[in-house]
Protein backbone atom coordinates (compact mmCIF):
# COMPACT_ATOMS: atom_id res chain seq x y z
CA UNK A 1 0.00 0.00 0.00
CA UNK A 2 1.28 3.46 -0.86
CA UNK A 3 2.22 5.62 2.13
CA UNK A 4 -0.26 8.33 1.13
CA UNK A 5 -3.12 5.80 1.02
CA UNK A 6 -1.95 4.29 4.28
CA UNK A 7 -2.11 7.71 5.92
CA UNK A 8 -5.00 9.52 4.26
CA UNK A 9 -7.13 6.50 3.40
CA UNK A 10 -7.10 5.11 6.95
CA UNK A 11 -7.62 8.25 9.05
CA UNK A 12 -11.16 7.10 9.90
CA UNK A 13 -9.64 4.28 11.95
CA UNK A 14 -8.49 6.87 14.51
CA UNK A 15 -12.07 8.08 14.99
CA UNK A 16 -13.30 4.50 15.27
CA UNK A 17 -10.55 3.84 17.82
CA UNK A 18 -11.95 6.60 20.03
CA UNK A 19 -15.47 5.14 19.71
CA UNK A 20 -14.09 1.72 20.65
CA UNK A 21 -12.20 3.13 23.68
CA UNK A 22 -15.36 4.92 24.76
CA UNK A 23 -17.42 1.73 24.33
CA UNK A 24 -14.78 -0.41 26.08
CA UNK A 25 -14.51 2.04 28.95
CA UNK A 26 -18.28 2.03 29.51
CA UNK A 27 -18.63 -1.73 29.07
CA UNK A 28 -15.81 -2.48 31.49
CA UNK A 29 -16.46 0.34 33.95
CA UNK A 30 -13.19 2.04 32.92
CA UNK A 31 -11.04 -1.00 33.76
CA UNK A 32 -9.15 -1.91 30.59
CA UNK A 33 -6.72 -4.79 30.11
CA UNK A 34 -4.58 -4.07 27.05
CA UNK A 35 -2.81 -7.14 25.71
CA UNK A 36 0.82 -7.32 26.83
CA UNK A 37 0.63 -4.20 29.01
CA UNK A 38 -0.42 -3.35 32.56
CA UNK A 39 -4.13 -2.89 33.31
CA UNK A 40 -5.30 0.71 33.29
CA UNK A 41 -8.32 2.71 34.23
CA UNK A 42 -9.34 5.02 31.42
CA UNK A 43 -12.24 7.24 30.48
CA UNK A 44 -13.29 10.15 28.30
CA UNK A 45 -13.91 13.41 30.15
CA UNK A 46 -14.41 17.16 29.97
CA UNK A 47 -14.75 17.55 26.19
CA UNK A 48 -15.50 15.58 23.07
CA UNK A 49 -15.92 16.82 19.51
CA UNK A 50 -17.84 14.66 17.06
CA UNK A 51 -18.03 15.42 13.36
CA UNK A 52 -19.68 14.29 10.16
CA UNK A 53 -18.22 16.15 7.20
CA UNK A 54 -18.80 19.83 8.14
CA UNK A 55 -21.31 19.20 10.92
CA UNK A 56 -19.75 19.32 14.36
CA UNK A 57 -20.99 18.67 17.92
CA UNK A 58 -18.69 19.92 20.65
CA UNK A 59 -19.80 18.67 24.05
CA UNK A 60 -18.41 19.83 27.37
CA UNK A 61 -19.09 18.82 30.96
CA UNK A 62 -17.74 16.47 33.60
CA UNK A 63 -18.23 13.36 31.46
CA UNK A 64 -19.83 14.57 28.23
CA UNK A 65 -19.40 11.16 26.61
CA UNK A 66 -22.07 9.84 28.99
CA UNK A 67 -24.60 12.45 27.87
CA UNK A 68 -27.54 11.55 25.61
CA UNK A 69 -26.31 14.20 23.15
CA UNK A 70 -23.04 12.33 22.64
CA UNK A 71 -24.80 9.09 21.76
CA UNK A 72 -27.26 11.01 19.60
CA UNK A 73 -24.32 12.44 17.65
CA UNK A 74 -23.01 8.89 17.12
CA UNK A 75 -26.41 7.79 15.85
CA UNK A 76 -26.35 10.68 13.39
CA UNK A 77 -23.18 9.19 11.99
CA UNK A 78 -20.80 11.64 13.68
CA UNK A 79 -17.54 10.24 14.99
CA UNK A 80 -15.11 11.74 17.52
CA UNK A 81 -12.49 14.03 15.98
CA UNK A 82 -10.92 14.75 19.34
CA UNK A 83 -11.57 13.77 22.92
CA UNK A 84 -10.11 14.56 26.31
CA UNK A 85 -9.06 11.46 28.16
CA UNK A 86 -7.73 10.41 31.52
CA UNK A 87 -5.75 7.28 32.25
CA UNK A 88 -4.63 5.91 35.59
CA UNK A 89 -1.92 3.29 35.68
CA UNK A 90 -0.95 2.24 39.18
CA UNK A 91 -0.43 5.50 41.04
CA UNK A 92 0.23 7.50 37.90
CA UNK A 93 -2.44 9.65 36.34
CA UNK A 94 -2.34 11.19 32.88
CA UNK A 95 -4.72 13.57 31.10
CA UNK A 96 -4.61 14.72 27.47
CA UNK A 97 -6.59 15.40 24.31
CA UNK A 98 -6.37 12.76 21.61
CA UNK A 99 -6.57 13.98 18.01
CA UNK A 100 -8.22 11.01 16.35
CA UNK A 101 -7.13 11.65 12.74
CA UNK A 102 -3.43 11.62 13.58
CA UNK A 103 -3.39 9.84 16.97
CA UNK A 104 -1.53 12.97 18.16
CA UNK A 105 -1.67 13.93 21.83
CA UNK A 106 -1.99 17.51 22.96
CA UNK A 107 -1.94 19.20 26.36
CA UNK A 108 -0.63 16.00 27.97
CA UNK A 109 -0.13 16.39 31.71
CA UNK A 110 2.42 13.98 33.13
CA UNK A 111 2.48 12.76 36.75
CA UNK A 112 6.00 14.10 37.28
CA UNK A 113 7.63 13.98 40.70
CA UNK A 114 10.80 15.97 40.06
CA UNK A 115 10.66 19.74 40.00
CA UNK A 116 12.14 22.03 37.38
CA UNK A 117 14.89 23.07 39.78
CA UNK A 118 16.14 19.48 40.07
CA UNK A 119 19.03 18.32 37.90
CA UNK A 120 17.82 19.16 34.39
CA UNK A 121 18.76 15.88 32.73
CA UNK A 122 17.01 13.91 35.48
CA UNK A 123 13.84 15.93 34.93
CA UNK A 124 14.04 15.17 31.20
CA UNK A 125 14.63 11.43 31.74
CA UNK A 126 11.71 11.22 34.14
CA UNK A 127 9.42 12.96 31.64
CA UNK A 128 10.51 10.68 28.81
CA UNK A 129 10.05 7.56 30.97
CA UNK A 130 6.53 8.63 31.98
CA UNK A 131 5.68 9.46 28.38
CA UNK A 132 6.94 6.10 27.18
CA UNK A 133 4.86 4.32 29.84
CA UNK A 134 1.71 6.06 28.64
CA UNK A 135 2.55 5.35 25.00
CA UNK A 136 3.05 1.68 25.83
CA UNK A 137 -0.49 1.53 27.21
CA UNK A 138 -1.98 3.47 24.28
CA UNK A 139 -0.09 1.42 21.69
CA UNK A 140 -1.31 -1.83 23.31
CA UNK A 141 -4.89 -0.53 23.30
CA UNK A 142 -4.59 0.53 19.68
CA UNK A 143 -3.14 -2.88 18.74
CA UNK A 144 -6.11 -4.61 20.44
CA UNK A 145 -8.51 -2.34 18.56
CA UNK A 146 -6.88 -3.07 15.20
CA UNK A 147 -6.89 -6.85 15.84
CA UNK A 148 -10.56 -6.68 16.75
CA UNK A 149 -11.39 -4.37 13.85
CA UNK A 150 -9.79 -6.66 11.27
CA UNK A 151 -11.16 -9.91 12.68
CA UNK A 152 -14.20 -11.73 11.24
CA UNK A 153 -16.56 -11.08 14.18
CA UNK A 154 -16.23 -7.30 13.94
CA UNK A 155 -19.04 -6.69 11.45
CA UNK A 156 -21.43 -9.41 12.63
CA UNK A 157 -20.90 -9.39 16.37
CA UNK A 158 -19.10 -6.26 17.58
CA UNK A 159 -20.70 -3.53 15.43
CA UNK A 160 -24.27 -4.59 16.44
CA UNK A 161 -23.23 -4.30 20.09
CA UNK A 162 -21.68 -0.87 19.54
CA UNK A 163 -24.84 0.20 17.68
CA UNK A 164 -27.01 -1.03 20.52
CA UNK A 165 -24.83 0.90 23.00
CA UNK A 166 -24.97 4.03 20.80
CA UNK A 167 -28.78 3.70 20.86
CA UNK A 168 -28.78 3.87 24.62
CA UNK A 169 -29.52 0.20 25.13
CA UNK A 170 -27.57 -2.05 27.44
CA UNK A 171 -25.53 -4.31 25.22
CA UNK A 172 -24.59 -7.82 26.29
CA UNK A 173 -21.20 -7.22 27.93
CA UNK A 174 -20.67 -10.95 28.37
CA UNK A 175 -21.11 -11.57 24.64
CA UNK A 176 -18.70 -8.75 23.82
CA UNK A 177 -16.02 -9.96 26.20
CA UNK A 178 -16.35 -13.52 24.92
CA UNK A 179 -15.83 -12.29 21.34
CA UNK A 180 -12.89 -10.18 22.44
CA UNK A 181 -11.30 -13.09 24.28
CA UNK A 182 -11.79 -15.31 21.25
CA UNK A 183 -10.11 -12.81 18.89
CA UNK A 184 -7.30 -11.57 21.12
CA UNK A 185 -6.77 -14.91 22.87
CA UNK A 186 -6.23 -16.55 19.50
CA UNK A 187 -3.65 -13.90 18.61
CA UNK A 188 -1.81 -14.45 21.87
CA UNK A 189 -1.67 -18.20 21.22
CA UNK A 190 -0.31 -17.62 17.72
CA UNK A 191 2.41 -15.35 19.09
CA UNK A 192 3.73 -18.04 21.43
Amino acid sequence: MELLDLIEGRRFMGREFVVWLWFESEMQETNLHPTGADPVSMWLEAQITLVLEKEESRLKGAIPASSPEAKEALRQGKLPKEAKMRLVRGEREYAWTLKADSLGLSGLKLPTQLKKNDEKHEVFYERMMLLEDLETSLSALYADFVRMRLADPWDDEVVPLIKSWAHGEKPDAGAYLATKRAVLGEKRKKKR
Partner: protein
Protein backbone atom coordinates in the same frame (compact mmCIF):
# COMPACT_ATOMS: atom_id res chain seq x y z
CA UNK B 1 10.83 34.33 22.94
CA UNK B 2 8.29 32.96 25.40
CA UNK B 3 8.84 29.80 27.43
CA UNK B 4 8.34 26.72 25.30
CA UNK B 5 6.17 23.83 26.31
CA UNK B 6 7.83 20.69 25.14
CA UNK B 7 10.13 17.89 26.05
CA UNK B 8 11.76 19.72 28.95
CA UNK B 9 8.87 21.37 30.78
CA UNK B 10 5.14 21.98 30.84
CA UNK B 11 2.38 20.01 29.21
CA UNK B 12 3.18 18.09 26.05
CA UNK B 13 1.76 18.55 22.56
CA UNK B 14 3.47 16.58 19.87
CA UNK B 15 3.43 14.56 16.66
CA UNK B 16 5.10 11.16 16.50
CA UNK B 17 7.23 9.77 13.69
CA UNK B 18 8.91 6.44 13.07
CA UNK B 19 12.55 6.69 12.02
CA UNK B 20 13.17 4.10 9.31
CA UNK B 21 15.78 3.27 6.69
CA UNK B 22 19.49 2.75 7.07
CA UNK B 23 19.96 3.90 10.67
CA UNK B 24 23.62 3.85 11.71
CA UNK B 25 24.57 1.65 14.68
CA UNK B 26 26.48 4.52 16.24
CA UNK B 27 24.34 7.61 15.67
CA UNK B 28 26.27 9.84 18.12
CA UNK B 29 29.60 8.82 16.61
CA UNK B 30 28.59 9.27 12.98
CA UNK B 31 26.17 12.18 12.79
CA UNK B 32 27.50 15.08 14.87
CA UNK B 33 29.40 16.55 11.91
CA UNK B 34 26.24 16.57 9.78
CA UNK B 35 24.18 18.00 12.65
CA UNK B 36 26.70 20.83 12.94
CA UNK B 37 26.64 21.35 9.17
CA UNK B 38 22.85 21.79 9.37
CA UNK B 39 22.88 24.02 12.44
CA UNK B 40 20.79 27.18 12.18
CA UNK B 41 22.40 30.01 10.21
CA UNK B 42 21.27 33.58 11.03
CA UNK B 43 19.14 35.34 8.44
CA UNK B 44 20.56 38.31 6.58
CA UNK B 45 18.41 41.34 5.62
CA UNK B 46 19.58 40.84 2.02
CA UNK B 47 18.39 37.23 1.79
CA UNK B 48 15.87 36.50 -0.93
CA UNK B 49 14.09 34.00 1.30
CA UNK B 50 11.86 35.14 4.08
CA UNK B 51 12.74 32.42 6.58
CA UNK B 52 15.41 29.92 7.51
CA UNK B 53 15.50 26.75 9.61
CA UNK B 54 18.25 24.68 11.20
CA UNK B 55 19.27 22.85 14.36
CA UNK B 56 19.88 24.55 17.69
CA UNK B 57 20.45 23.50 21.27
CA UNK B 58 17.16 22.10 22.63
CA UNK B 59 17.71 24.06 25.83
CA UNK B 60 18.72 27.33 24.22
CA UNK B 61 17.69 28.23 20.65
CA UNK B 62 20.31 30.99 20.55
CA UNK B 63 23.03 28.40 20.95
CA UNK B 64 23.82 26.86 17.57
CA UNK B 65 27.37 25.73 18.36
CA UNK B 66 26.34 22.13 18.92
CA UNK B 67 28.50 19.48 20.52
CA UNK B 68 28.04 15.94 21.80
CA UNK B 69 26.94 16.96 25.28
CA UNK B 70 24.27 19.35 24.02
CA UNK B 71 22.70 16.85 21.60
CA UNK B 72 23.03 13.31 22.96
CA UNK B 73 21.28 12.52 26.25
CA UNK B 74 21.91 8.79 26.79
CA UNK B 75 19.59 7.05 24.31
CA UNK B 76 18.01 10.30 23.10
CA UNK B 77 18.99 12.67 20.33
CA UNK B 78 17.69 16.07 21.44
CA UNK B 79 17.58 19.05 19.12
CA UNK B 80 15.78 22.33 18.71
CA UNK B 81 14.31 22.92 15.27
CA UNK B 82 14.83 26.65 15.06
CA UNK B 83 12.80 28.65 12.56
CA UNK B 84 13.43 32.37 12.05
CA UNK B 85 11.25 34.56 9.87
CA UNK B 86 11.34 38.13 8.75
CA UNK B 87 8.02 39.67 9.69
CA UNK B 88 7.65 43.18 8.28
CA UNK B 89 4.35 44.65 9.53
CA UNK B 90 2.00 45.30 6.60
CA UNK B 91 1.08 48.94 7.44
CA UNK B 92 4.76 49.81 7.98
CA UNK B 93 5.71 48.32 4.62
CA UNK B 94 2.83 50.06 2.88
CA UNK B 95 3.73 53.48 4.32
CA UNK B 96 7.42 53.16 3.43
CA UNK B 97 6.62 51.82 -0.01
CA UNK B 98 4.31 54.75 -0.78
CA UNK B 99 6.97 57.21 0.36
CA UNK B 100 9.69 55.52 -1.72
CA UNK B 101 7.40 55.36 -4.76
CA UNK B 102 6.60 59.05 -4.59
CA UNK B 103 10.28 59.93 -4.20
CA UNK B 104 11.19 57.83 -7.24
CA UNK B 105 8.38 59.24 -9.36
CA UNK B 106 9.50 62.78 -8.50
CA UNK B 107 13.14 61.94 -9.21
CA UNK B 108 12.37 60.42 -12.60
CA UNK B 109 9.60 62.86 -13.50
CA UNK B 110 7.11 60.04 -14.10
CA UNK B 111 3.44 59.60 -13.28
CA UNK B 112 3.44 55.83 -12.86
CA UNK B 113 5.93 53.05 -12.21
CA UNK B 114 6.04 49.86 -14.24
CA UNK B 115 5.50 46.40 -12.67
CA UNK B 116 9.21 45.54 -12.57
CA UNK B 117 10.17 48.90 -11.08
CA UNK B 118 7.52 48.43 -8.37
CA UNK B 119 8.81 44.93 -7.56
CA UNK B 120 12.42 46.19 -7.36
CA UNK B 121 11.35 49.05 -5.16
CA UNK B 122 9.48 46.68 -2.83
CA UNK B 123 12.55 44.44 -2.51
CA UNK B 124 14.66 47.46 -1.65
CA UNK B 125 12.18 48.77 0.93
CA UNK B 126 11.76 45.33 2.54
CA UNK B 127 15.53 44.95 2.89
CA UNK B 128 15.83 48.43 4.35
CA UNK B 129 13.08 47.75 6.88
CA UNK B 130 14.55 44.36 7.81
CA UNK B 131 17.69 46.20 8.97
CA UNK B 132 15.57 47.96 11.57
CA UNK B 133 13.92 44.73 12.77
CA UNK B 134 14.94 41.40 14.27
CA UNK B 135 13.54 38.19 12.80
CA UNK B 136 10.87 36.36 14.78
CA UNK B 137 12.29 33.23 16.36
CA UNK B 138 10.59 29.96 17.19
CA UNK B 139 12.12 26.70 18.27
CA UNK B 140 10.44 23.30 18.39
CA UNK B 141 11.82 20.44 20.48
CA UNK B 142 12.74 17.28 18.60
CA UNK B 143 13.54 14.09 20.54
CA UNK B 144 14.58 10.88 18.79
CA UNK B 145 14.65 7.78 20.99
CA UNK B 146 17.44 5.61 19.57
CA UNK B 147 16.18 2.49 21.36
CA UNK B 148 12.65 2.58 19.93
CA UNK B 149 13.37 4.77 16.87
CA UNK B 150 10.31 6.83 17.66
CA UNK B 151 10.73 10.58 17.24
CA UNK B 152 8.62 13.25 18.92
CA UNK B 153 8.24 16.66 17.34
CA UNK B 154 6.73 19.07 19.85
CA UNK B 155 4.36 20.66 17.37
CA UNK B 156 1.29 19.46 15.49
CA UNK B 157 1.66 21.93 12.62
CA UNK B 158 1.88 20.33 9.18
CA UNK B 159 4.23 23.11 8.06
CA UNK B 160 6.66 22.40 10.90
CA UNK B 161 6.40 18.64 10.17
CA UNK B 162 7.37 19.32 6.56
CA UNK B 163 10.34 21.45 7.69
CA UNK B 164 11.43 18.68 10.06
CA UNK B 165 11.10 16.04 7.34
CA UNK B 166 13.39 18.01 5.04
CA UNK B 167 16.00 18.93 7.66
CA UNK B 168 16.02 15.53 9.36
CA UNK B 169 16.46 13.57 6.14
CA UNK B 170 19.19 15.94 4.99
CA UNK B 171 21.01 15.57 8.31
CA UNK B 172 20.63 11.90 9.18
CA UNK B 173 20.06 10.31 5.71
CA UNK B 174 17.14 8.24 7.07
CA UNK B 175 13.38 8.34 6.53
CA UNK B 176 10.62 9.66 8.74
CA UNK B 177 7.16 8.09 8.62
CA UNK B 178 4.47 10.13 10.38
CA UNK B 179 2.37 8.20 12.86
CA UNK B 180 -1.27 8.00 11.82
CA UNK B 181 -4.01 5.41 12.38
CA UNK B 182 -2.95 3.68 9.15
CA UNK B 183 0.83 3.66 9.68
CA UNK B 184 0.39 2.58 13.32
CA UNK B 185 -1.78 -0.37 12.22
CA UNK B 186 0.65 -1.28 9.45
CA UNK B 187 3.49 -1.61 11.97
CA UNK B 188 1.70 -4.22 14.05
CA UNK B 189 2.93 -7.11 11.92
CA UNK B 190 -0.46 -8.06 10.49
CA UNK B 191 -0.84 -11.65 9.32
CA UNK B 192 -2.02 -12.39 5.76
CA UNK B 193 -5.71 -12.48 6.69
CA UNK B 194 -5.50 -9.24 8.67
CA UNK B 195 -3.53 -7.58 5.88
CA UNK B 196 -6.29 -8.48 3.39
CA UNK B 197 -8.93 -7.08 5.74
CA UNK B 198 -6.82 -3.95 6.27
CA UNK B 199 -6.44 -3.39 2.52
CA UNK B 200 -10.21 -3.51 2.00
CA UNK B 201 -11.38 -1.86 5.23
CA UNK B 202 -14.41 0.45 5.02
CA UNK B 203 -15.62 2.92 7.69
CA UNK B 204 -18.14 1.47 10.14
CA UNK B 205 -21.66 2.86 10.19
CA UNK B 206 -23.37 3.29 13.53
CA UNK B 207 -26.73 4.48 12.26
CA UNK B 208 -29.22 1.62 12.02
CA UNK B 209 -30.81 0.66 8.72
CA UNK B 210 -34.24 2.01 9.63
CA UNK B 211 -32.68 5.39 10.50
CA UNK B 212 -30.61 5.42 7.35
CA UNK B 213 -33.78 4.82 5.33
CA UNK B 214 -35.48 7.91 6.78
Amino acid sequence: MGATLGALRGSLTFSRFYVTGDIPDDVPGTTLKRIRANAFQPLSPDDEKNEGAGWANIEDPFDTDLDHEKVFYNEYVCLGLRLDRWVVPGPLLKAHLREAEQALLAKRGLERLGRQAKADLKTMVVRKLRRQLVPSLKSYDVVWNLRTNVLHLYSQSERISALLDDLFKRTFKVDLVPESPGTAADRLGLDAKEARAFAGIEPMMLARLEEEAR
